[in-house]
Symmetry: C5
Subunit: 306 residues, 5 copies
Amino acid sequence: MKRKSQARTDKPGTSLSSLSLAHGKRVRLWRLLYGHGPANGTLMVLPLDQGLEHGPTDFFPNPPALDTSFQFRLALEGRYSAIALGIGLAEKYMHEHAGRIPLVLKLNGKTNIADDAEAVSPAFASVEDAVRLGADAVGYTVYVGSPRQDVEIREFGKVRQECERFGMPLVVWAYPRGRDIEAKGGKGSLYAQDYAARVAEELGADVVKLHEPAPEIGASPEPYRSLREDPPARLRRVVRSAGRVMVLFSGGVKQDDDAAVLRKVKLYMECGATGVMFGRNMWLRPMDEALALSRRVHALLSRHPR
Amino acid sequence: MKRKSQARTDKPGTSLSSLSLAHGKRVRLWRLLYGHGPANGTLMVLPLDQGLEHGPTDFFPNPPALDTSFQFRLALEGRYSAIALGIGLAEKYMHEHAGRIPLVLKLNGKTNIADDAEAVSPAFASVEDAVRLGADAVGYTVYVGSPRQDVEIREFGKVRQECERFGMPLVVWAYPRGRDIEAKGGKGSLYAQDYAARVAEELGADVVKLHEPAPEIGASPEPYRSLREDPPARLRRVVRSAGRVMVLFSGGVKQDDDAAVLRKVKLYMECGATGVMFGRNMWLRPMDEALALSRRVHALLSRHPR
Amino acid sequence: MKRKSQARTDKPGTSLSSLSLAHGKRVRLWRLLYGHGPANGTLMVLPLDQGLEHGPTDFFPNPPALDTSFQFRLALEGRYSAIALGIGLAEKYMHEHAGRIPLVLKLNGKTNIADDAEAVSPAFASVEDAVRLGADAVGYTVYVGSPRQDVEIREFGKVRQECERFGMPLVVWAYPRGRDIEAKGGKGSLYAQDYAARVAEELGADVVKLHEPAPEIGASPEPYRSLREDPPARLRRVVRSAGRVMVLFSGGVKQDDDAAVLRKVKLYMECGATGVMFGRNMWLRPMDEALALSRRVHALLSRHPR
Amino acid sequence: MKRKSQARTDKPGTSLSSLSLAHGKRVRLWRLLYGHGPANGTLMVLPLDQGLEHGPTDFFPNPPALDTSFQFRLALEGRYSAIALGIGLAEKYMHEHAGRIPLVLKLNGKTNIADDAEAVSPAFASVEDAVRLGADAVGYTVYVGSPRQDVEIREFGKVRQECERFGMPLVVWAYPRGRDIEAKGGKGSLYAQDYAARVAEELGADVVKLHEPAPEIGASPEPYRSLREDPPARLRRVVRSAGRVMVLFSGGVKQDDDAAVLRKVKLYMECGATGVMFGRNMWLRPMDEALALSRRVHALLSRHPR
Amino acid sequence: MKRKSQARTDKPGTSLSSLSLAHGKRVRLWRLLYGHGPANGTLMVLPLDQGLEHGPTDFFPNPPALDTSFQFRLALEGRYSAIALGIGLAEKYMHEHAGRIPLVLKLNGKTNIADDAEAVSPAFASVEDAVRLGADAVGYTVYVGSPRQDVEIREFGKVRQECERFGMPLVVWAYPRGRDIEAKGGKGSLYAQDYAARVAEELGADVVKLHEPAPEIGASPEPYRSLREDPPARLRRVVRSAGRVMVLFSGGVKQDDDAAVLRKVKLYMECGATGVMFGRNMWLRPMDEALALSRRVHALLSRHPR
């Protein structure tokens, strides 16, 4: 099998063919990986849960993006693999585009009004909702290392079981969060992201959304604190730590320089990522610019078949 | 479709025809929007949960209003779209008016004896109760940004699923609340109300009850803190942030000046609201005055079909 | 209907005929109101949950009352409308008197060993237990305004739904409690009792047990703080706030003067109460005195048909 | 009926014939009271949950007692009414003695590593487990007066309902515990034990395990603080407070003087106890001594038929 | 029976033949004890949950071990009795080796990012998952003595019941943890490990994973504080405290000296252990060294049939 030789040669990243999956999961993942988007085993997902997570604040740089029709148009014309959003937006906007773009139904979320010291992300939709809406995957945030991780992990486990039951792929937003991770170097550190990647694998994710790890700073625990790795080494490390879980890298806050964005994507793909989940970096641009950049990302992913 | 062009022209507000809804939801929303009240796609709802939320204190200015028959008479003779109250009042008073006025059954609530620093509103009735009572919608308070938002959001999610199951429209009282929102400018700020509007949309409301946003003060986060918008701009902003969720504005504490009340309603409707949910501003007036004002609001809404 | 005219004439209090009730509820309430006790629409209930709530301390003034046979004999020979007690006493003593005296099964309770700052009363029996035991109502304590009111209200809501399902009348011990009510004038104030009455109505009680409100003191919120009402005015106020919920007044700590007790009962009935629920004021007297006083209360209630 | 006359003569204690019980409960209680042990309506129960509650520490004075075979042999050869232990020991050791000695399956428990300020005892087995193992009763600890009593009482209520459903007698370890009881004179005081007895009755126990109450000290609430009762009066008091619940007294820490142990048992029986539940006072002696003492207790109980 | 004579001769340790087990449990335990590994009643289990429990940090000394294929190859070629891992790794890697190596599915776990003062290990998989995956046992961590032990013990009880239902052996990671155990001498003390062994037995484990107890230090409670036992005496003590629960000793942090590892294993087996569960001490060596050491452990266990 292809995947096993990869593992032996230390080349990170995974692919559908190497995985043993229940029928429904395989069918739905195939639709995401080969039926839409670059259709070569990579993923290019457009997420839209920032309105809940950060408030309308996020849309100020590009007011039209406040109307979810904007993101649907971008996802369709930009030929994304899927759009990822919660039940409220899905119920109100999907019907106009049903079947034309796969849906990753994000099941949990919260506001950022209260701080994240003891963050927990409650579910407000279910895997059954995803089935009812014809979604091809569900998304679930796990706040890795939060003081309330027991609540998170327990609820995640139930969602995972429902995913098994319905053959629904499970995309984990593995986000280090909480006062303890802040005390240990912060949520963006290699330590944090690397741990998050492994947690996603051990808890049973199919796909994991991570952030590109930052250089280590003094507060990270050893051996991370003493590591002096360059960005590609850091990226490869977290991809390897995710094992057979496909890795999507997040875009994070908007970057104005298109070329810089594309360099990032290229780097991620060279380091073993299955793809990207860029939201604000896409839909905070005017539609024509967002489409142009999306097409270049699409082309770039097309050159990295999995 | 009408709604889509609206979105493109930046004219906020939504209407029934633009929404994809399960059969039961559409039937019940139609009854509210076109079967009662102004019957032109607008909503004029008379709420009565203040006795639980604030105690009998609220009725002191108009003692007859302590008897729920007062509000039922007002709702009927004032030709409201619906009356919104909890299970206790519904069970005891509905039967005398059954079928003549739609019911929005408010499912959760609490007293204001303990403070709101960690507010959470527990459900004491269910969507099934609403079905049993022949209600045309349920109401549910979400305390946006409360430190206990995980409890709120999780419970809300279950209510929403029951609403899907029974075809019951879901009206969300989206109330910013808790120590964190107080630290960030207070529950009445544009920041708070705008966020609340978006939360209602992302969580899956059909209708949202909001307060008219106050001018920003120093404590709000940017970019809100620096905004210098006039009332119509603020109102339009929150209506837009609610997306395809219909917006009702609350009356809040009683205003003695009828003309001022009507100016408010006119402003709300011009800014895209679907209607109003005025309680104390109506039933704290003597019956004849309350009816007179109700009829003027009714007439005003009739001039703003959706 | 009689009730409606009452409301219009500001004469507080309610009666069975004015209520819309499911069949089972009506049958059982009829048994309490017209089948036993004064049998004229009033209620005279003998409660016995003080052993759990306060410990055996309460029985020291009258040791024979520690044996529940005492209260059963008193309830029977004193011709009470019902006896109210928990599952433990009901299971052990009912069978000797089954059918001769209606049972109000008290579902929740707690000790007073820990203080009441965050009081919550857990259920240890269910409505199904009440059905199994042939009870004619269930009793449930709600600690109005407790910091943990969300737990209380949520659990209450489930009990209420079971009551609907089984046609079981619901008697609410509406007790203001917790650190916040203490800070606002205490549990006995008119503010507290008036709020409790309204909470019982909005949450869906059929009968509410309240305490006679004390004169206001400085700590109560306005407008209560400035009220200068005499006892009848205070009593009428809380009866009105209970709306169509029948009000029983509690006896509280034992009063040695029989005449004073009877004056209280007379006052309560003149102010619209449906009856009384006196425990210690009855069963802390020697049997013959308790019976004598009970008979005088019985006679007094007979003169106030509802 | 015998029991009623007892109550009237102030002679405390209860018996099977005076109780109204579901068939299964009566059958199983008969087996404990008349089928094994003294077989005269008294109970002599050998408990073994100290390994969980206190750790192996308790076995140091008599290492062979660490092997549960020791207690089984003692229970059998000492002709006890029952052995009381948790699911782990029951599953591993019962099969060798099945049918020869009744089992009281203890359903909940905890370690003493964390302190008892907010003690709560979680269930780790169910009434169904007891049925499956052929037990004749279940045991359940209630920490009377713990700040977390609401958790305790709620869970207890569910266990009690399962007991009703399966006809399983319910033995309550009624243990005053927590910071509040410590502040009010401690868990061993007459106040504490008397309250615990009543709580067991009101919550619906069939049998209650109590400790012999200690003389009052200054911190107990009145009227207990001022009581000056001798040991028999204290014991009779708590037996009376347990009403129709059969009382077993605990042995507590080991007492080396056999005669003193027997004097205690005699006193308990004379004061109305149904029997004793002595663990460490039995199985911390060498087998021959433990058997000799057990036989003397057996003989003593034989002289106090119920 | 063999086991009973063992108990009498103070020779600790247990064996399958002495246990009364439901059919499914016996079949699965037989497969672990006699169908794989040394196949003589001993157990040699390779655990892999450290990625979740400690993060990828643990794999730094041997990067290839980050790929779970490494541990599977080691378990197979090293002829282990079983491999123990969570649902994520099981789902992704088992299919390549299905049937060739038994699986112990670890059901709960957490990260070590937040500290362990109030540790609780949430379940994210179920016994049903284990059945579905064809596992031969489940693993469950219990944090003995944690301030949140009530959550742990309650959840454990439910898992144990599912194990009874499905005939699934239950391996308990009995780990003393939390601020209280730290205050009493720490998690590694004889006091802590001895208590943990007994807790596993009383809660109903089939197999328990313990750590070799360290010498006592001053903070342990008496009588442990004053014990001066050598390592074999300490080991025998905890094996005896586990009663009829089979004891596996953990390897803990990696030891570089192979001979020292083997001396440990020999000592454990001589002291009554059923086997070992060594993870990092095995898979942190290069594959050839890990295999060589595994074979020597295998040979050593072969000389200690149970």
